[in-house]
């Protein structure tokens, strides 16, 4: 699983990468995940619905991330614009 974050002026950066089956790597992923949520980011998991349609799911804790998800993408929380 990869944790990616959108960055102004850069595009996405890789925050962490690891195998959920390896406890140490899972711990690192969880820490990185919490750090981003604490920083006010939203976390989205790109998914593919039956039939091939692409979707996304917002997750609010690491436990909500599907175990087979390949990526979690963090982006700044939405705010009302002008």
């Amino acid at each position: 699983m990869k944790l990616l974050r959108m960055k102004p002026g850069h595009g996405e950066i890789l925050l962490a990468e690891g195998d959920l089956e390896v406890p140490e790597q899972e711990r690192e992923l969880i820490e990185a995940f919490r750090g981003e949520l604490d920083a006010g980011m939203w976390a989205a998991v790109p998914t593919q619905a039956p039939g091939g349609r692409r979707e996304a799911e917002l997750v609010r804790s690491f436990a909500e991330v599907p175990r087979d998800a390949e990526r979690v993408i963090f982006f700044p929380r939405a705010a009302g614009g002008r």
């Binding site: 959108m6 960055k7 595009g11 989205a44 979707e55 996304a56 700044p76 939405a78 614009g81």
Partner: protein, 212 residues
């Protein structure tokens, strides 16, 4: 007496300026450098000075496009690549859709009639300002809106500031974009029909050759 004091003050000021001139200039250079780094944080250091990197935004946009392409449907990716915006179907009851422009409001409209409904102003400001600007690359901004709409349309719209159409997006421009979108859809439909006809025609030709 006053004249003498004024002359002494002038001479003292001139002496102080002579003594501190180099320090003042060095301080000004440091301030200018700091300001340049704040304005162009991605600039490369050349011979001790900071310079603007004109390719940085382009590289960021290319990275963002690659990420978008890996997340959205093939049709949506082609739409953004060709037209510069996305159409996302509304989820609540259907019958409406959004035009998603980079760094512009979401525009709700009725695809069947082209009627414009509302502008929803949303932004994704990065408060950490890691690179000096709070703005995501264009494709990242569109992808963030796409993901938020797909995942939780109501929450995104609840966070938005709602305005009547025309506040930020020029209705004439939107009308042109909707026309481009219709033409783009038609071209894709024609292409898809041609692709499905071609194998069938090839099969018929092969059959007639075998029969001969």
């Amino acid at each position: 007496m006053i004249l003498a004091l004024a002359t002494a003050a002038l001479v003292l000021a001139a002496l102080l300026w002579e003594l501190s001139r180099e320090r003042v200039r060095a301080g000004a250079r440091r301030l200018a450098g700091r300001a340049a780094r704040m304005l162009w944080p991605g600039g490369e250091r050349e011979q001790g000075e900071w310079s603007y990197d004109p390719g940085r935004e382009r590289r960021a946009e290319l990275r963002a496009r690659a990420l978008m392409r890996s997340c959205v449907n093939e049709e949506e990716w082609a739409m953004y690549r060709d037209l510069g915006f996305l159409r996302v179907a509304g989820g609540a009851g259907g019958g409406y859709a959004y035009l998603v422009y980079p760094h512009r409001p979401l525009l709700a409209y009725v695809p069947d009639t082209g009627e414009l409904l509302s502008e929803y102003c949303v932004a994704f400001p990065d408060r950490s300002r890691p690179y000096g600007s709070a703005r995501l690359p264009d494709a990242d901004d569109v992808l963030a809106k796409w993901m938020a709409l797909r995942a939780d349309e109501r929450a995104l719209i609840a966070d938005a500031n709602v305005h009547l159409p025309g506040r930020q997006l020029d209705p004439e421009r939107v009308a042109r974009d909707l026309g481009r979108l219709v033409a783009w859809d038609d071209a894709r439909d024609r292409g898809a029909r041609a692709r499905t006809r071609a194998p069938a025609r090839a099969g018929r030709l092969a059959g007639s050759v075998r029969a001969a």
